[in-house]
Assembly symmetry: C2
């Protein structure tokens, strides 16, 4: 799978702590990425279906949250994406 900025952010974040959709949308916004729920939730579903993250439902004051954590497979492609991102940045900063 070819990972874009959003998916890399998701995998990176789920590697640090459990993440749920609604809060994560706000987090992305703080970083300057506006993403619709209609985009974000299907991305989570797809990443889970492909085995890169796993979910656990939790009941917080009557609101169900679905916390996602990265899996081993997720860590693996995140590393690849990390390499690609570093290469890109190195190249961009080369000819300044």
């Amino acid at each position: 799978m070819e990972l874009g900025f959003i998916r890399i952010h998701i995998l990176h974040h789920t590697a640090i702590e459990p993440v749920y959709g609604s809060e994560f949308q706000a987090e992305l916004k703080r970083h300057g990425y506006e993403i619709a729920f209609g985009t974000l939730y299907p991305i989570f579903h797809r990443l889970e279906k492909d085995g890169y993250i796993s979910s656990k439902k939790e009941n917080v004051k009557g609101k169900i949250r679905k916390y996602y954590n990265i899996t081993e497979a997720g860590i693996a492609i995140l590393k690849q994406a990390n390499v690609k991102a570093n290469e890109l940045v190195a190249e961009l900063n080369e000819n300044d």
Copy 2:
């Protein structure tokens, strides 16, 4: 426009030297990105239509090449993308 890795590579490269499609596909492949002509050419067209690159046809041994160069507007969004890419990489390398 939200720029992904491919578009950033295109803008960066056209900022350095004139670029044409077929050769650039090979260049991307060297960097580990496989992109179909059916994807690449429409991306060039769209970037040109939006004013981020401009083209000039050139006849090389009977084969027409369309060389693209970045425009002022292209330089501007490339800078923005550069900032985003640097932020991403900084974050990725934070918690190692």
